[in-house]
Symmetry: C2
Subunit: 352 residues, 2 copies
Amino acid sequence: MARTSLKMLADHLHLSQGTVSRALNGYTDISAATRLRVRDAARDMGYAPNPTARRLATGIAEAVAYVMPQRGDSMSESFVTPLLQGLGEALAGRGWDLLIVQAATVPEEVAALRRLTATRQIGGVVLSRPRKSDARIDFLRGAGFPFVVHGRSEGCAAYAWYDVDSRAAFAEAVGRLAALGHRRIGFVGAPLHFTFAQDRRDGYRAALAAHGLDADPGLEAVAALDDTAGEAAAAALLSRDPAPTALLCATDPQALGALAAIRARGMVPGRDVSVIGYDGLSIGRHANPPLSTMAQPQADSGRRLGEMLLALVDGGAPTDYQELHRAEFLRRDTDGPAPESGPPNNHREKNR
Amino acid sequence: MARTSLKMLADHLHLSQGTVSRALNGYTDISAATRLRVRDAARDMGYAPNPTARRLATGIAEAVAYVMPQRGDSMSESFVTPLLQGLGEALAGRGWDLLIVQAATVPEEVAALRRLTATRQIGGVVLSRPRKSDARIDFLRGAGFPFVVHGRSEGCAAYAWYDVDSRAAFAEAVGRLAALGHRRIGFVGAPLHFTFAQDRRDGYRAALAAHGLDADPGLEAVAALDDTAGEAAAAALLSRDPAPTALLCATDPQALGALAAIRARGMVPGRDVSVIGYDGLSIGRHANPPLSTMAQPQADSGRRLGEMLLALVDGGAPTDYQELHRAEFLRRDTDGPAPESGPPNNHREKNR
DNA sequence: CTGAAAGCGCTTACAG
DNA sequence: CTGAAAGCGCTTACAG
């Protein structure tokens, strides 16, 4: 029942372990005949090298780490599960394993990466949700370690990344709202240490200018990524006078919160105030009313990230693996024409 | 810059590697003085043993694997991210690593586990969503390998598990609906190869009997776990005559689908037809109207699963680690009193 | 109480 | 083309 080792295989073949090892690893100085003989026997005996021994001998780990986003709102982390599934599939295609790095702070994440890379436990890293200035990326670059980023940060020209053009997405969203007659478009943004937050705000601002709408700083908010934060931020924006007739939100959970804020004022999302989110979460279909959103591409980002990382491990140039994908507008029911004379923003006063 | 090895540390201390190793590993036959000296030096030089070498020498891996649920609806897998976070935290407390097993079929999962355990890449396994008869569990039990199950299966008396009593939860839900005057309560169940599906249906049926309600097989459906399947199943149940005045769903995504089915018939969930889901997903707050549900305990199941597994690895008896938690009713807006004379189930006819 | 040695299961220069 | 040997970085009986 014992797992067949190299020694067992070699003994059975009356060859030395070294020869068998080389035959299996495709060394060209082995005669074609014995190579075949060895491979057949290996298959028959169900031999597979022990990864731990191999790792110790070669210093190369057939495993990569994925750095989990830090604990936050579970809704805004719903991209993780499908990403892990895709990543796992891509790695499984080559027999590589997938490790999870889970820490509460960036310095702890860096420490974990330092340990894993220094001891050669992993051969590559996938990172999500980079900061504009990201200590994890700095570390990996400094160590010359293969990694690919799900998103971008400052200095992304130098490394491999997979991102969705959320700047363009937010510009498109503004354009759509402008075409619907909206002139005062509010923006619920995300904390600006996230690169994507900066991108989305930039897209919003640029499109405002392009459409000749004035950029009222009072129409911009920054909130955490979740629904509760989105609701509070949206409520604040809606209480301004004149109020925005439309709200763009950096995430779908924020947008769901915004819908709640609108309903709380006795108004109807999509009629009195339009809302467009970003993510394309399927749960948006069940919102009240169903949420219009800029949807990230269906394409399997996890699988693609895995493929890119394996290519880097094989010696590919990081700059050859930089992919910018497009988000697509997913029209549901929260984007409507601007109300004739702005939204009825006298709700609070009326109820006094 | 090279990582300090055992050899470097031993040379620096003018001791043999063996002595240093034993001092660090708490062997009692080392003098207290040198033990202290060694530990101080190890700290100062930032020594940490190479896990790969240690693993090869001891045959013990300081890592565990989590078997991902198979690719399905992302909404119904939203428990995975928080679970991984909690699990990762529990393991990090002891410096253990977390591996992901991702496969498309159960046999592939078993093959992956066989490989990981045979090569001593892992020291334990966490499993989610067991089948009633589960080949992965059979394999792990046969191998005598430490594992803990998130849920239960047949034969769960013999192994460690963490579960929520969904049988009791569904019984309670039926009781609440019965108290609201509902006599015809429909049930959208999950595929019965999942243990939890059986439990939930059993709880439903038992409570029906306990409350003197008749168990009409025509009021029971089986559907996939997601919203689309839930919507179709609910639509079918609602078209029966007489129709149910309330619907119990095995998952929150199914329940969201049920709300859609009710609205599609021009009826109002919670008024014309009541709905109670199960999961307690936060997204239910944004449903139309907000979804009443049996919420799994807030308690951090991932962390607890990790703690239990570590206890098993330390030699704990599996039967000492079996925890049944309670779900709590989360009242939102979809459970209401039964309509006077049943729901207006003439929608289709009227529209002809 | 400490050291020397063997071993975990591989890979890979180095000879021949 | 193949074998013998050293080495990856640890741990752990076994002596003394």
